[in-house]
Each structure stands twice: as structure tokens, then as C-alpha cells.
């Protein structure tokens, strides 16, 4: 219905384009001009420039000996072991942190979505880590897992005296997954908002029909939350695949020049990409692997988008069905 109204309005705008409509369009472009200029100058042009660079041997200084190297930068990536190490660590980090992160966020939201004294305080405290500035959050989290001065080994030592596990190196990906879970409060708040949008009549109707709490959750609440889950999974995946700062700062040996001297087996995709560009000045190769990454992200997003019709519940469809 709404779509039809919009279409009708758009058509009439196109036909007549009254003075008023023209003024409105002018204002629209005036207000969005900064974004449009930024999009063209700081996104679109760099994307094209980067893509062009990825087919050359550019290293930051060799403009006069610049050579077109075809797709060599791209094929080289697939022949480099570090590339595959980074990719493997990244995929398993992103998958585990997105899945566990969303489950944990949903559980916390469900726990807090009930009448309970002190609910606001708990909500605030669980949310707190999610708004810490990244660089400080990583330093703090790294400290509790420190081999000699962390509280984790200190607590374990109470049961097994002398525990000195080198968490950060030996449990590299799991510790980073835990770090991402520390920020689960962000997702929790969004799920809480989603839960508050579930009409209570629906839940009560289901209960009157004899559904228990689990049935209400899995058959009423969860389907209504799937759009929120979808949104969270897509953005969460795009974000966690790009893990970079957290890894570099957690390893904690960014030298004075910022060069990464992390062992290769700990690489993430973006860490590898970063070091190729900014430690070794391999711009052409670096942009090429960032484009491989971009294409990968696009494929993941498209897969999620196309499978979403099988598991994401759209209220609009329901309304249309009702109207028909």
C-alpha cells in the first residue's frame, strides 16, 4: 500500500515537478552535498585509484618506474602462506565471535527483559565495556590474561599453584573471541530494544493456548527477533572479519615505528594486509589483497541476504497477506 502511494507521488513529481517540488529537490541536494562530495572524493575516487594501483608494482616512491603487472598481485596472494594463515585465523575468529556474541547478547537481553529490582544498574554495567575506547579496552583486557601479572592466572593458581599459562600466545584466537564477548553489551541493548518491540498480547495469547515459556520464546519471540538478528549478524560479521587494532594491541609489541613483529602464525587477514602496506610499502600488493577481502565480504553478505528469506521473518509480508 505504502509503496503504491510512494510510486504515485513519485510519478506525479516527475510529470509536473512543481516549483515547490523543485525547491524541495534543491534543498535535498544542498543538504546531502557534503556527503555526496565526500562519497565521490573520499570513497569512490579512492576505490578506483586503489583498484588501479592493485594492478601495478607501486611501492610509494616508484612513480617513474611504475609498471602494469596485470593480475600478478592477486595470484601472488594465493601463493603466499601468510595470506592463508591470516585468512584461516580470521574466518574462525569471525565465525565463533559472531555466533557466540549473538547468543550471549540474546541471553543477557532475555535475563534483563523482566521486572527486576536493579535491572537498570545491571544493564548499565553489562553495557559499560562496549563503550570503552578500543585502544584502552584492549590494554585492559590483555592485562588480565598476562602470563605473570594477570588475574586469570592468579585465580587459577589458587587451584593449581604456579599456573603460568601464556594465554595471549597459546590461546590467541580464543582470547580475542573473549575480548569481543566482553563488548557483548552493545548487542544486548539492541536485543533489549527488539524484545520490547514484541507485542505482549502475542505472548499472552500463546500462553493461554497452553505454550510454556520455551515454546513462547522459540515460536513467538525468536521469529519476531529474526530481523534484528539478521542485522546484527551482517554488521557483526563485516566488523569482526576486519579485526586489526585489537590483535596488534593485544600482542602489544607495536615497536616505535609501529612495525608489527608478531609471529606469522598469529596473523589475521587485516594484520597481514597492514604489515604488507605500512611495514613493507607494498602498496600494489596491499591494495590487491584488500580487494580480495572486499569481494569476500560481499560474497558473505550476499549469501546472508539470499538465505535470509528462509529464516528472517518479515512483518511486511504478513501485513500484505492480511490485506489481500
Amino acid at each position: 500500500m505504502q509503496d503504491i502511494a510512494v510510486m504515485v507521488r513519485e510519478r506525479s513529481v516527475r510529470r509536473t515537478m512543481t516549483k515547490r517540488a523543485r525547491r524541495e529537490a534543491r534543498d535535498f541536494y544542498l543538504l546531502t552535498l557534503p556527503w555526496i562530495l565526500g562519497f565521490v572524493g573520499l570513497s569512490l575516487f579512492p576505490l578506483v585509484l586503489g583498484l588501479a594501483t592493485s594492478f601495478t608494482n607501486y611501492n610509494g616512491l616508484n612513480l617513474d618506474t611504475l609498471k602494469f603487472v596485470g593480475i600478478r598481485n592477486y595470484t601472488r596472494a594465493f601463493e603466499t602462506p601468510d595470506f592463508w594463515i591470516g585468512l584461516k585465523n580470521t574466518l574462525w575468529y569471525a565465525f565463533v565471535s559472531v555466533v557466540l556474541g549473538n547468543i550471549a547478547a540474546l541471553i543477557l537481553a532475555l535475563m534483563l527483559n523482566r521486572e527486576l529490582k536493579g535491572r537498570a544498574v545491571f544493564r548499565m554495567l553489562y553495557y559499560l565495556p562496549a563503550i570503552l575506547p578500543l585502544a584502552g579496552a584492549v590494554r585492559s583486557f590483555g592485562l588480565i590474561f598476562n602470563k605473570n601479572s594477570g588475574i586469570v592466572n592468579a585465580i587459577l593458581s589458587m587451584f593449581v599453584p604456579g599456573t603460568a599459562i601464556n594465554w595471549i600466545v597459546d590461546y590467541w584466537v580464543p582470547v580475542l573471541v573473549l575480548f569481543s564477548l566482553w563488548g557483548v553489551g552493545g548487542g544486548m541493548v539492541i536485543y533489549l530494544a527488539g524484545l520490547q518491540g514484541v507485542p505482549s498480547e502475542l505472548k499472552e495469547a500463546a500462553k493461554i493456548d497452553g505454550a510454556n515459556n520455551f515454546q513462547v520464546f522459540f515460536n513467538v519471540v525468536l521469529p519476531l527477533l529474526t530481523p534484528v538478528i539478521f542485522f546484527q549478524v551482517v554488521l557483526g560479521l563485516i566488523g569482526s572479519l576486519q579485526i586489526l587494532d585489537a590483535a596488534i594491541l593485544l600482542y602489544g609489541r607495536a615497536g616505535l615505528s609501529g612495525n608489527i613483529n608478531m609471529p606469522q602464525k598469529l596473523y589475521f587477514y587485516m594484520v597481514y594486509n597492514y604489515s604488507q602496506v605500512f611495514d613493507y610499502q607494498r602498496y600494489g600488493y596491499g591494495v590487491a589483497i584488500s580487494w580480495i577481502f572486499f569481494i569476500m565480504v560481499l560474497i558473505f553478505t550476499l549469501i546472508l541476504l539470499f538465505t535470509s528469506k528462509y529464516w528472517v521473518y518479515y512483518e511486511v509480508a504478513q501485513e500484505e497477506r492480511k490485506a489481500a
Binding site: L31, L42, S140, I151, I248
Partner: protein, 289 residues
Amino acid sequence: MSAVTTLQARIPYKPKIKVGRILLYIVFILVTLVFISPIIWVFLTSLKLQSEYSIYPVVIIPKPLQWINYKRALFDYPYFRYFWNSVKLAIPTTAITVLSSALAGFAFARLEAPFKRILFILVLSMLMVPRMVTAIPNFMLFAKLGLVDTYYPWYLWALSGSSFHIFLFRQFFSTIPKDLEDAAEVDGCNRFRIFWQIFLPLSGPVVATSAIFHFQWAWGDWFTPQIFLSELKTTLSVFLARSYPDPKGLPLETVTFAGVMIYLLPMLIIFFIAQKYIVQGVVTTGLKG
């Protein structure tokens, strides 16, 4: 809940409720401890002597508390320079981003224009572009323009707004009834005044949410200052990524963590003042999608 349903629903469970409640609170408190333990541990560590930093058994509460670490973190090292750099980077960036995103969000929510839909799809699709893909050529570009090692790249990015914030504002402004601006238009207000005097004042929680998220990013970002700024211009996040050296060049961790505590402080203060608005902002913008 009405009295009748309360009776129906509650009576059979009444004996269980008390125990359940207590268990629930125990779970809540345990989770709280897990969530805040890193911050408490940083705080305790920042009050230790360096010789207490990594001894076995681990010192939990140092005696006496070394408050002097805070003084040393601030005054023995160029802390204020980097603090000021962070301020110069983060505050204008946040203010400009919020304003330009609000303007664009307003336009997308309230005005009709040819190609609007395509533009909005472009705004959203920028959320999918990994930052490395644009960061490398942006770096090459700004290096050519001589803007590396200044804060202008941040201000320029801020001027063009950010997809996420444009989306936030657009969602919120879409919910405001049309009559409001019609009345203002009849009174002869121009579009900018309608935005400034009607829409912006209504969007307090969204402005707060958007500003806090962006400030958090700008204050905590390590990657961009690391590649764009030199040793003297860089921010606290880069400065504190390494440990302070003592006169022998060994890392002075306890003093560093005092510095980390002070670095976290502005965000903690903002959070405790504004956390109500953030939650409200997340709800009202329908961040849920």
C-alpha cells in the same frame, strides 16, 4: 499486568520464585564481576610498585597504594601533549560528523528528490566497504595533498558524515509527523530553520547516541592515527599502545596502566552521564533494523 492474570500466572509458582530470584541475582552479580574485572584489575595494577607488577604470588591489593604512579604518568611523560592531540582530533571530528550526518539524515527522511533511493542505497552500501580498501588509497591521496600528519583528513571525513549515523538520524526523523513541518512551512520557515529549530531539538537521544559512538571511535582508534600521524602529532591511543620506558628503557607497566586509567576516564564519565540517553537512542532510532 492485570490482577486476574497475575493471580493465574503466579500462584502455582509462588514457592519457587524466591529461590529463583536469589539464584538469578547471584548469576547477575557473577556476570557483573566478569564484566568489570578488567577495569578493576587495571586500576589495582596502576597502584602497584613496578617490583610488585609480575611477582608470584600475584599481588591483588598493593600496600601501600602507589598513587604517585598517576602523577608520574601525567608529568614524567608527555601525557598532556597526546591528550591534547586526542582532544583536537576527536572533538571536532565528533561534532562535525554528528551535524553533517543529521543534515543528511534529515534530507533522506523528509525531502523528495530524484535519485534519492539510489543515493540512500549508496549510503548503506558504504557500510560494507572494509576500511582498508579505502584507507590505503586515502593515505596515498592525502600524502599527495600534503595533509598527512595533520588532523584535516579526519575533519574532511567528518564533513561528509558517516553512513551509520546518517542511517540513525534518517530512521529517527522518519518517525516525526509531517504536520509539524507543514505548519512551520506555512509560517515561512526555510528548510534549514525547520531542521535547526524543530527537528534537531527533538532528536536529543539520537544526537547523544551518535556523538558518543563517534567519540568512542575517534578516542579509541589506533589504526588511523598510527598510519597518518607522526610521533609528535599522534594520539593517546597510539602513545599508550606501547609501555612507558623507565630510565633503563625497560617497560614501566604500572605507570603505563595509570595512564590507561586516565585515558579511559573521559569515556567513563560521558557514559555515566549519558547512558540513559544511549539506551533510549538505540530504542528510538530502531537500530534494530
